[in-house]
C-alpha cells in the first residue's frame, strides 16, 4: 500500500467511528421495536481497501470524504442469539460494549492527531 497521509487516515477513521456511533444509537433507541434488526458499519479494513482501489483509479490527493454523506454504509448485523417473538435482534450489552470501543478508538485518534499537530507546530515555530 502506498504511503498514506497520517492526518487523512485519522480523519477517515474518525468519520467511520462517528457513523458507527450513529448505528449504535439507532440500535439502542430501537431496542424494544418489534421487527427491528440490529445494524453496524462494515469493518474499517474493508473501507480502506475499497477507497484505496477507487483512489488509484481516479487521481491523487484527497478522497473527497463528505462530512454529510455516509461514504460507507451500515448493514444488518449477523445475529445468532435466541429468536424473540418480537424478532428484535438488539442485545443491549453488545451495544454498550461497542460504544466503549468507539470511545477508546476516538480518544486515541484525537490524541494522535493532537500530538502530531503540536509536533508540526513546534517545528514550524521560529
Amino acid at each position: 500500500m502506498e504511503p498514506v497521509n497520517l492526518f487523512d487516515l485519522a480523519t477517515r477513521q474518525s468519520q467511520w467511528l462517528a457513523v458507527r456511533q450513529t448505528a449504535i444509537a439507532g440500535n439502542v433507541a430501537n431496542a424494544n421495536t418489534p421487527g427491528y434488526l440490529a445494524r453496524d458499519v462494515e469493518p474499517f479494513e474493508k473501507v480502506l481497501e475499497r477507497t484505496a482501489v477507487s483512489l488509484s483509479a481516479t487521481q491523487q490527493g484527497h478522497l473527497g470524504f463528505g462530512a454529510t454523506e455516509a461514504a460507507f454504509g451500515t448493514r444488518v448485523q449477523e445475529y445468532d442469539g435466541a429468536i424473540l417473538p418480537s424478532k428484535n435482534t438488539v442485545v443491549m450489552e453488545t451495544e454498550l460494549m461497542k460504544a466503549g470501543e468507539v470511545r477508546r478508538a476516538f480518544e486515541l485518534n484525537t490524541a494522535i492527531v493532537k500530538a502530531f499537530h503540536s509536533m508540526l507546530l513546534t517545528v514550524s515555530k521560529g
Partner: protein, 138 residues
C-alpha cells in the same frame, strides 16, 4: 447533518419513546383497580405502546417513534364483590386486565432503556467535544 449530530437526534427520539412508554405504564398502574360505575360496566382497559423505527439513509441510523397506543384485548378478570357499584346480577365485578407485576417489570425495563439512551447522548456529546478540542492550543 453529520453523523454525531444525527446520533443525538436518534438518541433523543429513544428518550422520547421510553418516556411515553413510562407514562402509559404509570397510567396502567394508577388505574389497576379502576372498575366501572354502573352494574356490568367495563373497567379500565390496559393500554399498550408499540414502537416503530424509521431508517435514516443519510446517517445510517434509525429513529424510533411511538407507532400506536393500543388497548389490551385480553379478558377482564372477575371478582366476587356483591357490594360494588359495578357488580352484575351475580355479584361479580370486572376488574382491569392490568397485572401489577408485569407493569412493574415493564417500568424497570423502560428505565433501563432510558438510561442507555442517555449514555449514548453523553458519549456523542463527549466525542464532539474531543473533536473541537483538537483546535484548542494547549
Amino acid at each position: 447533518m453529520d453523523a454525531l449530530t444525527a446520533t443525538l437526534k436518534i438518541a433523543a427520539s429513544g428518550l422520547g419513546a421510553q418516556s411515553e412508554r413510562l407514562r402509559i405504564v404509570s397510567e396502567n398502574l394508577a388505574n389497576a383497580q379502576s372498575t366501572g360505575n354502573f352494574p356490568g360496566a367495563d373497567p379500565y382497559q390496559r393500554k399498550t405502546v408499540t414502537f416503530v423505527s424509521e431508517l435514516d439513509r443519510v446517517s445510517g441510523g434509525s429513529v424510533v417513534e411511538v407507532g400506536a397506543i393500543d388497548r389490551d384485548p385480553s379478558a377482564f378478570p372477575l371478582e366476587f364483590q356483591p357490594g360494588n357499584v359495578a357488580a352484575d346480577e351475580n355479584g361479580y365485578v370486572k376488574l382491569p386486565n392490568v397485572n401489577v407485576l408485569i407493569e412493574m417489570a415493564d417500568m424497570t425495563e423502560a428505565n433501563r432503556s432510558y438510561e442507555a439512551n442517555l449514555q449514548v447522548i453523553r458519549q456523542a456529546r463527549d466525542l464532539i467535544s474531543m473533536t473541537i478540542d483538537l483546535m484548542r492550543t494547549p
